[in-house]
Amino acid sequence: MSTQLPASRPFKVSFPHMGNYSIPVRLLAEQLECEIVLPPKMTRRTLEVGARHSPEFVCIPFKYNLGNYIEALEKGANLLIQAGGGCRFGYYGEVQEAILRDLGYDFGMVRLLGGWKLRDHIGDFKRVNPRLTMLRALKAYKLALRQTQALDRIEDYVRRNAGFEVQDGAFEEVHEAFLGELDTARDMRTMAEIESRYLGELEAIPTERPDDLLRIGIVGELYVLMEPFSNLFVEKELAKRGVEVHRFVTVSNMVEHSGRKHTAHLDELIAKSGDYVRYHLGADGTESVSMTYQLMQQGFDGVLHLKPFGCMPEVNAMASLQRLSREHTFPILFISYDAQTSETGLKTRLDAFCDMLRMRKQRPGDAAMADGAETLAPGAERSTA
């Protein structure tokens, strides 16, 4: 825990983007009774400025976060928040603060280390807003969590179904409208109402689901999984190829398994990993392997494994995943993201992967996998998509 406040009020708070979670985070930040300055929407520039000032081979979430900070500071923010998660996230804040200070920015920073539990952080928040009470913070936390759940449920539905819309863009339109409304909801009842109404709207969208549709699970490191800009919108790309997309790493799930339940959760994952993992591999690595194994057993057609280039826990996981893929001839596409990863390269690889999966479906057990096996062989996957 570590807080340094800006020299003078008013404080203008900002925090890095991750998917649409700026919605619940904004709700939380409101309790600080400061002006909130959202970083501008992510663009290539965000990554460029972030990467320019980052250590060269730090993992890419660091670079995106730093880019968000710089762009937020340019917009007038003066109090930055950095939160936990991942294996090095806990350490991002201190280095980012040093870099930004050397760049000449004048700002304060709240570095939230440790868990997701409110009591770990209330002290920091109280320094920003002395009027904040535990009760009020708790209430806000519960609201933000509810909002997060609504967000995750709706987006889960979109992922599974958007690939089959009859009219292009139908899901996206409803999704956007949902985000707009959810952002203004400030009580439980409204949130529940918005969630069920939009779920109804999504269900009403006409779809055509082919018999041979592909079901693909996405596993990997949390940031690239949850920040679509950073994964080059891989979920949308899959949807375009008529894929039912499943993803299990969401903030709701992470909160659910955090704190005291964390160890039990890991034990369960290990127990269901088909002996491909015996000890926790760090951050999301164990989950990546265990979920892949479980999805394979559930008859999924394939798995996409996403990670930032050099991400250690996921590199650990890949040793298990490559063996699993080999021993069970189960298709896994490994994608690494760094600042140079190109969209074209990604699209080509997705095309090839989906084609291979379809071929396997039509002619189960024959040479189809041999083609695919080439993309799967250890060492064949390149660092950049």
Binding site: G93, E94, V95, A98, R278, H280, L281, A319, Q322
Partner: protein, 310 residues
Amino acid sequence: MHATVGLPRSLLFHKYHVLWETFFGALDVETVTSPQSNRAILARGIELAVDETCVPVKLFLGHVDALRDKADYILVPRIVTLAKDETACVKFLGAYDVARNSVPGIRLLEYNVDVKNGIRQRPELCRVGETFEPNRRKVRRAYDHAASEHLRYTARLDEQQEEVLARPGMKVLVVGHAYNLYDEMLGKPIVDFLGKNGVEVVSSEFHDTAKARTLAKLVSKDIPWTYNKELLGALESYRERVDGIIFLVTFPCGPDSLMTELCMRRVKGTPSIMLVLDELQSEAGLRTRLESFIDLIEAGKRRAAVDGAR
């Protein structure tokens, strides 16, 4: 019939070999150590490892493989936490599973240290010992003996370090993990080159771990990695007594790149460079950088001498 235990000469071997060798020795178990790192070991490691694995882990896999038919078991520790509020680099969490899944045809002996969750080294290593010696008291005695030998050894290293620091002449602190510093292919060429050029090398080995943790706080409040705290402890404790600092980082090590970034920004006044070692590193390139670094230090010293004379 004597069982043999293979010790891969990589990663934590460079920190704990005295502990391991003494422990197994006391149990009448023969240990076999893989050879010094060489091209073949590295090449095999690269072949076995996932592309983006850091160089030390690639070497580790090469060493494990080199022991495949040479020993009955291969020892691979899994280290998570050695104290509350800190953690080992993620590669030590995964080392056992990574070796198991990457190298075919081996039998591993693992011990798990996760102090934060109440799993300590003594009972874990004793459990390993019981594979060979049913008498538990004997195993515990072997461990205690090994642990004190380990402490004696590291204390001696710290003393030697002080001796180096007391000598006259140019001294350079090389900040890097033992598994990089002492590896035949990674740190050794650098240390040798410095030595040949008359530079005394002070290593960042620092075994007073309690002191290291306190000192580390002066540079970094939040750094969570146990072994990096030791590096920072060495940095704080030695930096004013050396003429230059070399940060040795292996590609693409995240913890080290973050730590070095912070150090380079915070440690002012002593000339410092960062050397990134990868599997393709060219010795010629390294030499050039080291030469110009030595020149830089000498120039600084001359200037200081002139200023002092005025």
